[in-house]
Subunit: 233 residues, 2 copies
């Protein structure tokens, strides 16, 4: 026996498709939704569809955006000579929250993981190389890739203009902010091998004890990495 309402049951089924939501949570959410005003539920439903309809990939950095290129790539005050390479759009958000970083980003769309069948070509690595390499390399192709999804406000020409503008600045440093795990390590190694020959400095964000952490409870891998990466006081 399930819920006596098929609609509620259908909603519970739909919600359990999402990560972190099990059957119990889905039931709790469904009860809550039953009591919400209809207008608010419509707002949620519309926000869901809007995300699918409006969000696209930035032609320059592959971050999620409503308007191509994204706010960060458009911003004239951003330091375009430093590119921070992250795995997911969420990571951009995390780094922006620190308020410390003034450069631009590049979103890979994941990490190299042979076990999950994710190779370098499934990520935006080629696009990253094109951003660094001297002019004349595959920009046309990149514009066309996202061309069909372009916003009304932004013509292909405008996107192209921004890409050209970015290319005027010579990239000096690539900061690899990939996750500190096997997939991240593999990706960092792959990218550094590819980019170092282009004469660009490639760095990786520090791994060590988290702030507020406790040495006693740190795992061996973190602790040995922290020792290895020790610096002058």
């Amino acid at each position: 026996m399930q819920f006596s309402s098929e609609s509620v049951e259908a909603l519970v089924e739909q919600l359990t498709k999402l990560p972190t939501i099990g059957r119990k949570t889905a039931q709790r959410l469904a009860s809550f939704i039953l009591k919400m005003p209809r207008a608010e539920v419509v707002e949620i439903a519309e926000a869901l569809i809007a995300v699918k309809d409006r969000v696209r990939e930035c032609s320059i950095c592959s971050n999620v955006t409503d308007r191509d290129p994204c706010q960060i790539c458009r911003a004239p005050r951003r330091d375009r000579s430093t590119i921070c390479v992250v795995e997911e759009a969420n990571d951009v958000h995390a780094i922006e929250r620190t308020g410390e970083y003034r450069g631009v980003y590049h979103v890979l769309g994941g990490a190299i993981s042979p076990l999950s069948g994710v190779g370098p070509d499934d990520l935006t690595i080629r696009k990253l190389v094109a951003r660094i390499a001297p002019d004349g390399e595959i920009p046309e192709e990149l514009v066309r890739e996202n061309g069909s999804a372009n916003d009304e406000e932004t013509s292909d020409d405008e996107v192209h203009r921004f890409i050209q503008e970015h290319r005027k600045t010579t990239v000096e440093e690539i900061i690899l902010a990939v996750n500190p795990n096997v997939e991240g390590d593999t990706t960092a190694y792959y990218i550094s091998q590819l980019i170092k020959p282009l004469g660009v400095s490639v760095t990786r964000i520090a791994r060590g004890l988290p702030i507020g952490g406790d040495l006693e409870y740190a795992d061996e891998a973190t602790l040995s990495r922290a020792l290895e990466g020790r610096g002058q006081v």
Copy 2:
């Protein structure tokens, strides 16, 4: 700085309105939704709206249902002389899962809680009394209450016929399956005072140690209730 996409930001805002979903979880859900096929997202959105448009309250037991009266109230094999009183529709679901109960239900829509401003009139207690009391008491009014929301398949007449059919059976037992907390206790006391004069047996589900629980870790209130409610072996 927030997400570089306003649509994603709007979705995160909408999702955090739901219980158990904080900002971090909402961000994680939004990233997942960004990668889902559009058709699946539309399904979720539609299920949300459907719940608001199709689900109504059963005229008899106030359970959530797509078709009034609900499946359980319609079922001819259910023992209509026993009514299990629960706080929420989710609780019906929980009791049905045991597979032990063959009677019908009554959903109160909450519990009496003076602190939260919930009084007896905010619950379906009057409707419960009408189910038990001899014929002629407020059935018309009850039908009209939900009348406007009726499914095309179910006419007011049909709902009325079911109510009359239920009234043919004399209610013999009211099982109070309210939560074992202050609000539940208050509600149970209120209902029992109201119903006992009508000559109906009023019981409450047992409170004691949960199965698989450990005496050592049980709280004092549960343990003293378990002692008090001890039975012959």
